[in-house]
């Protein structure tokens, strides 16, 4: 990826910690606001980061989210240590969820998280190794023209 880094920062995400959940995403949002990034880009990033962060909280032991902002894009990388996803195609299907009854009571488990991330990103890659963990790569371009001619 080209372009000089404007900023790079990593956030730790702890599995099962529903109290702290969302802190990484709200911090990313504050950073992007501070940088003067376009509000519509911030909104899309906020959705993607929160859904990705919550999946680590809900399903993994721990993970790390790295934010990189370049003049061209917001780039997010997530790596977790956890059970992994046996069938990614199934997991990407809207409505599919393995959330527990407790999670569903809290309003999680609509099976919309991964589809939401995909919808809000220009590039989205997911890979997973069962028993090891899951990796996400998300790119949101700052300039909509870049999306048309990558």
């Amino acid at each position: 990826m080209s372009g000089e880094n404007v900023l790079s920062q990593s956030f730790e995400i702890i599995g099962g910690n529903f109290g702290r959940a969302g802190k990484a995403s709200t911090t990313v949002k504050d950073i992007l606001k501070e940088l003067g990034i376009d509000p519509s880009i911030i909104r899309r990033t906020a959705i993607a980061t929160y859904e990705a962060e919550m999946n680590v909280v809900m399903y993994a032991e721990k993970g790390e989210m790295t934010l990189r902002v370049t003049p061209e894009m917001v780039h997010l990388h997530l790596q977790d240590q956890g059970p992994g996803i046996p069938d990614i195609k199934l997991a990407m299907k809207e409505g599919y969820s393995t959330a527990t009854p407790e999670m569903r009571e809290m309003g999680f488990g609509a099976g919309m998280g991964l589809p939401n991330i995909k919808k809000n990103s220009d590039l989205f890659e997911i890979s997973s190794e069962v028993g090891k963990g899951t990796r996400l790569e998300i790119v949101i371009y700052l300039n909509p023209k870049v999306k048309a001619n990558p």
């Binding site: 959705i47 309003g107 488990g109 609509a110």
Partner: protein, 113 residues
């Protein structure tokens, strides 16, 4: 309509005072599923929900929502209130059901045809 005028018109209880009460509200969204709210609510919407835990505050902040209304007199715990104060997310409460308060809010702010 400004949030404070909606609060008065619908006799909503204000649970914490940090936030922008002058914000011009642009509609509402009623749901108890967080991913649904992330996907479909709009900036400056009022979110009507039964959920009262901390993640509600995170979602409201991430989506730039105008306020959250807890229905059926549901009471958030102290952690939720604290986080809302920190993040400037206005929390409101009503004795009405989600159906009832959604109808009232709709009648108040949605344009008549």
């Amino acid at each position: 309509m400004q949030l404070m005028n909606i609060i008065n018109a619908l006799s909503l209880e204000v649970l914490q005072l940090q936030g922008d009460f002058n914000v011009e509200v642009r509609g509402g969204y009623t749901s108890d599923m967080l991913s649904d709210v992330l996907a479909h609510s709009r900036e400056k919407n009022i979110w009507i929900t039964f959920q009262t835990h901390q993640n509600v505050v995170a979602v409201a902040k991430l989506k730039d929502l105008a306020a959250v209304i807890f229905v059926n007199n549901r009471t958030p715990d102290e952690d939720t209130l604290k986080r809302a104060r920190e993040e400037n997310v206005i929390l409101l409460r009503t004795a009405d059901s989600a159906f009832g308060i959604s109808g009232k809010l709709y009648g108040l702010i949605m344009p008549k045809d």
